[in-house]
């Protein structure tokens, strides 16, 4: 019945003799075949696919990930390799992004820098999601006094300027961490990451999850009052089953969308710190440190600034746009 499209040319029904012929055998059976259910994820994916901007951003993200993780393997140079005779070259065939003062290939350094940015974004997002959702879920589920106290703590943390704290924590941990890396062999791997990045992760684990915790708690409180939760309780549903089967699946969409939008914010912070010189430690490069290194010679070698600066903006932009699209697709209620 497609009445919406019919423009009612006349008020009289046009009845044709065919309308009275019996339906073919099995007409309804065929109709039943069409009742294949569309799940939540499938429906969300279909909504997402219709969003051209989000899909473009997704493609960009995939390309950027390939660039950052596969790229360095394909390059003939490594990020810390100083090529004699190739110092301070403008972009050319041999070095598409040019080289720096020490003859290091900027393309491969940008790839490694992008890798750092993407890793920072993803790891921080995971930390934020785990800490924030556990905290928020406990606060929302237990309720009462516990909830009030937990939320006041969140309020306090919320007003701490996190950038300042990252700087302070980085300074506090950098020396003990270096000692740890040198004395305990198991921590050698951490050396490459550097104390700056670890400080970022620590601060994300300590502070940045509060936004997430608020969202999760809000969702849980909203869901908790819905009748289907009461219905499950009336069926004798245990608390753990309630969380697993009903609460979590119902707020997972919002969770994912929030986490996706957390990624660009973490990348932002890392770039900022690296720019200030307290992010990754040399010779490891991040897009922030590359830009800040190049800034001194900005008048003569603008390309050294332009490539990493453009890359980081592109990474953040794609995650932002994809996150926006994902939020709309996963939670159609919010789109109204």
């Amino acid at each position: 019945m497609n009445t919406a499209k019919v423009k009612f040319p006349s008020l009289q029904n046009k009845i044709k003799p065919e309308d009275f012929t019996p339906l073919a055998e099995g007409y309804f059976d065929e109709e039943n075949l069409d009742t294949e259910e569309i799940g939540y994820w499938k429906a969300s994916w279909q909504r997402l696919k219709k969003n051209k901007i989000a899909m473009t951003a997704l493609v960009l993200i995939v390309i950027l990930i390939l660039f950052a993780f596969i790229g360095p393997l394909l390059s003939p140079y490594t990020y810390d390799q100083q090529i004699r005779g190739d110092e301070a070259l403008w972009p050319c065939l041999k070095h598409p992004f040019g080289t720096d003062r020490l003859g290091r290939d900027i393309l491969v350094r940008c790839m490694v820098g992008s890798r750092i940015s993407i890793i920072v974004g993803l790891v921080s997002a995971v930390i934020v999601m785990i800490v924030g959702s556990i905290y928020g879920a406990i606060s929302g589920l237990v309720g009462g006094k516990t909830d009030i106290i937990m939320m006041r703590i969140v309020d306090i943390i919320y007003s701490v300027p996190e950038i300042l704290l990252i700087v302070v924590i980085k300074m506090v941990i950098s020396e003990p961490l270096d000692n740890l890396i040198q004395t305990v062999p198991a921590f050698h791997g951490l050396q490459k990451i550097g104390s700056g990045l670890i400080a970022i992760f620590i601060v994300y684990g300590l502070l940045y999850w509060v936004g997430m915790a608020r969202i999760v708690r809000g969702q849980i409180l909203q869901l908790k009052n819905l009748e289907f939760v009461t219905a499950s309780e009336a069926l004798g549903c245990s608390r753990s089953r309630l969380i697993r089967e009903h609460l979590l699946p119902n707020c997972i969409g919002q969770l994912i969308a929030t986490v996706m939008l957390q990624i660009p914010s973490a990348i932002f912070t890392e770039a900022f710190l690296s720019y200030l010189g307290i992010g990754v430690s040399a010779p490891m490069a991040s897009l922030g440190s590359l830009t800040s290194e190049a800034l001194n010679g900005i008048a003569s070698y603008p390309y050294r600034v332009i490539f990493p600066a453009a890359l980081i903006s592109l990474i953040i932009l794609s995650f932002n746009l994809f996150g926006d699209g994902l939020r709309d697709a996963l939670d159609p209620k919010m789109k109204k």
Partner: protein, 327 residues
């Protein structure tokens, strides 16, 4: 309450004695006031009977239904199911006997679950099947019982109309084969034409499965149709309780009389000749109820003692209980 005289102890399925449910509400900086949602309510329900509960919104009837199932922990009082108290006990075994159908067919079904998982949840929790095939068979039987097509097995709630959703909700309640069901305004969110279908189905199910209902509604006509006896609630109190025929023929509490006179009559002649008692004023805030009789602020009778003393629910005729000083 001296009610033992006229009832057979054997027949009673559910008995509620002096049930109270207070919610502490902050009203000032540190001051807390109790919101008396259910205040000293007592009644019993016989096996196979339907007890209707009516009252304006906010009178505590929904809280009463939920407290009886201990979805809200009662503040005080006793609830006895089949002769045994359920207060302070692990409710899980009782969840097999006492179930609930909700008012809002949209909010009461988990939007992420298929129909089969919604209906089957109770069986999963209570482990009521031996094999997957048995589970499926049981679910399909239940769907058939409430008039849902087999094809809906794997569908999601959002694909259904309100009436169909309510059928799913009823099937879910029936999954554990309960003896007692609280119907919390099960039709008030539905279209009038659908209401009749659901009511008829509930009645059929009651007959075939020997169910006992506590039927909560604000629509007197529906309650009269389905109930054997009716209780009228006002501000957390039970003000009148009797058989539905008696309630209509001979309402004794002024509040009941007002409610009944507000029902529209389809016959214009009778409608015009009828004397209407208008319900004046607003229902008072349950946080700050009037002293003495809760209804006195809107009551046309009004006597001296009303402000001082809370009237008790007394049996004035056989099986007819009223809480009013002025009869």
């Amino acid at each position: 309450m001296e009610t033992n005289t006229n009832r057979d102890q054997q027949d009673i399925l559910l008995e509620v004695k002096n049930l109270k449910k207070y919610f502490p509400i902050r009203t000032g900086f540190v001051k807390k006031t109790d919101l008396k949602a259910v205040d000293d309510v007592s009644f019993f329900i016989r096996k196979g009977e339907t007890l209707g509960i009516v009252g304006e919104s906010g009178c505590g009837k929904t809280t009463l239904g939920r407290t009886i199932l201990r979805l809200e922990e009662p503040t005080s009082g006793d609830i006895r199911y089949d002769g045994e108290t359920i207060i302070g006990k692990d409710m899980k075994p009782y969840r097999n006997h006492m179930q609930i159908v909700f008012q809002d067919p949209y909010a009461s079904l988990d939007p992420r679950k298929t129909v089969s998982d919604i209906i089957g949840e109770a069986m999963d929790i209570q482990k009521l099947y031996a094999s997957k095939a048995e589970r499926r068979e049981k679910i399909l039987n239940l769907m058939n019982l409430v008039g849902l097509n087999r094809e809906f097995y794997n569908r999601f709630p959002h694909e259904f109309s309100g009436g169909q959703r309510q059928r799913i909700g009823i099937a879910r309640a029936l999954a554990v084969d309960p003896g007692f069901i609280v119907c919390d305004e099960p039709v008030s969110a539905l279209d009038v034409s659908i209401q009749a279908q659901i009511i008829n189905m509930l009645e059929e199910l009651q007959e075939t499965r020997q169910l006992t209902y506590l039927f909560i509604a604000h629509d007197l006509a529906i309650v009269k149709h389905i109930s054997n006896r009716i209780g009228v609630m006002y501000l957390g109190h039970m003000v009148e309780l009797t058989t539905s025929a008696e309630l209509y023929k001979n309402p004794l509490h002024p509040y009941t009389q007002m409610l009944l006179s507000a029902i529209p009559i389809a016959d214009p002649d009778r409608s015009e000749s009828r004397e209407r008692i208008r319900l004046e004023g607003e229902i008072p805030s349950p946080l700050n109820p009037p002293s003495g009789c809760p209804f006195r602020t809107r009551c046309p009778r009004g006597a001296q003692c009303c402000a001082e003393q809370m009237p008790e629910l007394k049996e004035v005729e056989q099986g007819h209980y009223v809480a009013c000083h002025v009869l």
